[in-house]
């Protein structure tokens, strides 16, 4: 069956792969969702490459946090940052943009 939804998701094939077991809330009258609830989708499973920090090189500039499209770079108490591998998709942007070359990308063992 070709619905527009399935067509539309050809580019974002992940949509159709969504883990529907996460659906707990009942269908309400209008399609109202709770804020920030996609945290249930652990997109870390998509990753082929894993970003890793070399804190010796890091200057704590904070760029990696800003340039993550998946909000998967989290600040730590000590001023450094860490990756949230639950959601990091391994795009490599943080590594590419780090001015100090302090992030490496290593092949994910699956």
């Amino acid at each position: 069956m070709t619905t527009e939804a399935s067509q539309d998701s050809t580019i974002c094939p992940e949509i159709s792969k969504n883990d529907h077991e996460t659906i707990e809330s009942k269908v309400t009258c209008c399609s109202v969702c709770k804020p920030g609830s996609t945290l249930k989708n652990k997109t870390g499973g998509w990753r082929n490459f894993r970003p890793v920090y070399n804190y010796e090189k890091c200057t704590k500039c904070g760029i990696c946090e800003i340039v993550c499209p998946d909000m998967s770079v989290k600040p730590r108490e000590d001023g450094f940052f860490e990756h949230d591998y639950d959601y990091c998709k391994g795009c490599g942007i943080c590594a590419n943009e780090c001015p100090e070359d302090a992030i490496g990308m290593i092949l994910e063992k699956k």
């Binding site: 709770k34 249930k40 800003i66």
Partner: protein
């Protein structure tokens, strides 16, 4: 240098491609706007990837209605807030793709700007209809190959230049129109902050390279965004009441070839006979921008 971490109002777990441009556009918009806003998001990648019922990546109130009515829905939100005495400092923001902004939704946006609603419209320009599979839009640049403007034996791809949407909006007498790019987060965040603080209809057009639609490695989204600016192909400026008040200067513009080479959508320009002349035409566009907007 330790800074206070900016609070994120878009959460992880959305299903945009790795390295997604629309996710950046939304993230930077919310970093500029903060929590006291209402977001209207017409149909497109951002809407689909961020709200798979019953889940949502948005931590601000958000509504999706249709593909072509973002401007009108936002104007209704603004009018209702005023009528109910709830406007106060709440900002109304519409954020749509190039397709919904420059093509199918342009009438509704024009109406909202002409009526003078107090809102900010943000166009995430990834230069094609990505959500339906990379079809050409009026934001697709000259010679880009898309699924509906493919390069072929008798075609170099899209035969028309990009529509100048910021100029169209500026012609409505908007107090603030700005172009920016997701490759320059600070610039974009500053412009969003400025736009939402100005009373009246304001517009931000953010250039947004799409890894899937343009054909480049997921790690290059921001790098390519910067290249577009550094070649002069994407001029970044502030405009107040139709007058350019500030431009981002580029000291040594890079040749457009450097930008074009990074993307599969321009690959044919380097393999087809006559490609060189085509690249020259694109270089001419960049040169014109540099002169016209005083980028040097």
């Amino acid at each position: 240098m330790t800074k206070v971490a900016p609070k994120m109002y878009l959460s992880s777990g959305h299903s945009g491609c790795a390295g997604c441009c629309d996710a950046f556009a939304a993230k930077f918009t919310l970093m500029g706007a903060g929590p006291n806003c209402i977001v209207v998001n017409p149909t497109g990648c951002l809407e689909v990837m961020s709200t798979p019922f019953p889940l949502s990546s948005w931590k601000v109130p958000w509504i999706h209605s249709l593909f072509e009515n973002g401007g009108a829905v936002a104007s209704g939100v603004e009018a209702a807030l005023k009528a109910l005495g709830k406007k106060n400092d709440t900002k109304v923001i519409a954020i749509g793709g190039d397709g919904s902004t420059m093509d199918i939704g342009i009438g509704a946006i024009s109406g909202a700007f002409e009526r003078g609603h107090d809102f900010t419209y943000i166009c995430m320009d990834n230069e094609a209809y990505m959500n339906t599979g990379i079809q050409r839009s009026s934001g697709t640049p000259y010679d880009a190959s898309t699924t509906t403007s493919p390069a072929g034996k008798f075609s170099f791809g899209n035969p028309r230049p990009k529509k100048n949407m910021p100029a169209i909006i500026a012609a409505h007498g908007s107090p603030y129109v700005a172009t920016t790019s997701i490759g320059f987060p600070r610039d974009m965040i500053r412009k969003v902050k400025k736009a939402i603080e100005i009373v009246g209809p304001t517009y931000i057009h953010t250039h947004s390279p799409c890894t899937t639609g343009w054909g480049f490695d997921t790690s290059k989204t921001l790098e390519i965004a910067k290249l577009a600016v550094e070649t002069g192909l994407w001029p970044m400026y502030d405009m107040e009441y139709g007058e350019i008040t500030q431009v981002r200067r580029i000291k040594d513009p890079k040749p457009v070839e450097e930008y074009l080479r990074t993307q599969k959508r321009f690959k044919h320009l380097f393999t087809m006979e006559g490609g060189e002349e085509e690249i020259q035409k694109i270089q001419d566009t960049a040169d014109w921008n540099i002169k016209h907007y005083g980028l040097k």
